[in-house]
Symmetry: C2
Amino acid sequence: METNSVEGCHIGRLRWLVAGSQILGLASVIMTGVWLGHYHGGFAWDRTPHQFNVHPLCMVLGMVFLYGDAILVYRTLRNEGKTTLKVLHAVIHLIALVVVIVGIAAVFDLHIAKKVPNLYSLHSWCGLSIIILFCLQWVMGLAFFLFPGVTYSLRTIYYPYHVFFGLALFILSIGTCLTGITEVLLTSIRDTYSKFDPQGILANALGLVLVCFGLLVGYILTRSEWKLPVSSEEEALSLHFKTLTEGGSPSSLRRQ
Amino acid sequence: METNSVEGCHIGRLRWLVAGSQILGLASVIMTGVWLGHYHGGFAWDRTPHQFNVHPLCMVLGMVFLYGDAILVYRTLRNEGKTTLKVLHAVIHLIALVVVIVGIAAVFDLHIAKKVPNLYSLHSWCGLSIIILFCLQWVMGLAFFLFPGVTYSLRTIYYPYHVFFGLALFILSIGTCLTGITEVLLTSIRDTYSKFDPQGILANALGLVLVCFGLLVGYILTRSEWKLPVSSEEEALSLHFKTLTEGGSPSSLRRQ
């Protein structure tokens, strides 16, 4: 009874934190839209500077908000089956990837049309590395966790790497957004930024909201009390696997 | 025998990764020194632009390299007593804090002398938040883990927050360094950055080295097989605490 009430209290707190993360995530997308809509003339795909504005909006929406929500499905949807969660996780990541590709295409297409060099800044170096690793991570996730031919032991070996690099790419995306915000402000309001220009304050606040969203998603993901319980089938497999490895495993399983 | 050899293999891998982290950490400090020494005229405390150069060097040394190493003591020094590790952790963090304060003083003193506004950029907003939270984290750590009057149960409640916010501040420091590098490059080599100026390439590479250092420290810290084993005394206390909370705890302990 006591244990149940403590668990209920934990889940109640999780709901509040998830709600908070959604408010921050939505706020970051809206603030990006308002910043670029109000101060930079809005969005278009016409090879004018307005086309550039598509880039930050897509990156914040895809690489931060949707990416974060794809991670959170394993904490928020606690009554769904593992396969449903995996498919949902992969689908939200795929949507994020499509949005991100649109965002990258916007800026590359504009740079090529205007003969502006590409990939010279720290922002672009980080950004490109993240996108390549994100694609790799998505394909590896699909191959290891949704492809039926992969054994449980291989999944168990890869799982902690998938989680670590998934969270690392999410955090690095937010860091790259901060460099992007800095770049835009230092090129567009270079002379008034230091005079606390309202655009500067809005964009700085956007940076802090992105950081807070990342903190909240990271916190929800890493707290042990909100991890999904291992299903009995998986537990049985896990025990079997443990027996195999501890009692002299085949060489292919030894890394565990 | 099999288990011991697997454990030995794990520790061997840990040593290689720690060595790698130290190479990356030292490389980041040296690269910062070379960048500012070679391309920005070196270091001084004379209210010329050379004084500014003290800031990035101190921040990379204090908030990244020393901060990261203070975290790593709990994984590298595996045969020391818990109290020795706690004191070492606190002392390295204190040295980091002193270095960081010198770095902040350098830039504030210069800005005040030159009548340049302070604290308008995203970099400064993030940086100031980190320093305030770092001081708070250090004092809280001292109070909870080194002050003898605090009970084991209170320490157990605070411990996961200390670890989470400690790592979060470390990651955020690296993100803030990336915005700082972007700021310096966009103000000092604005016209040649897009032409792959060697300075730009060096500073971008520094950014990637900082990210890799962060990834490695984060990886070493979060892998479960390298966590220090709980000492028997602590285990006994922990069991006692668990019995207390599960079997109807006093209200002060209920949060656990």
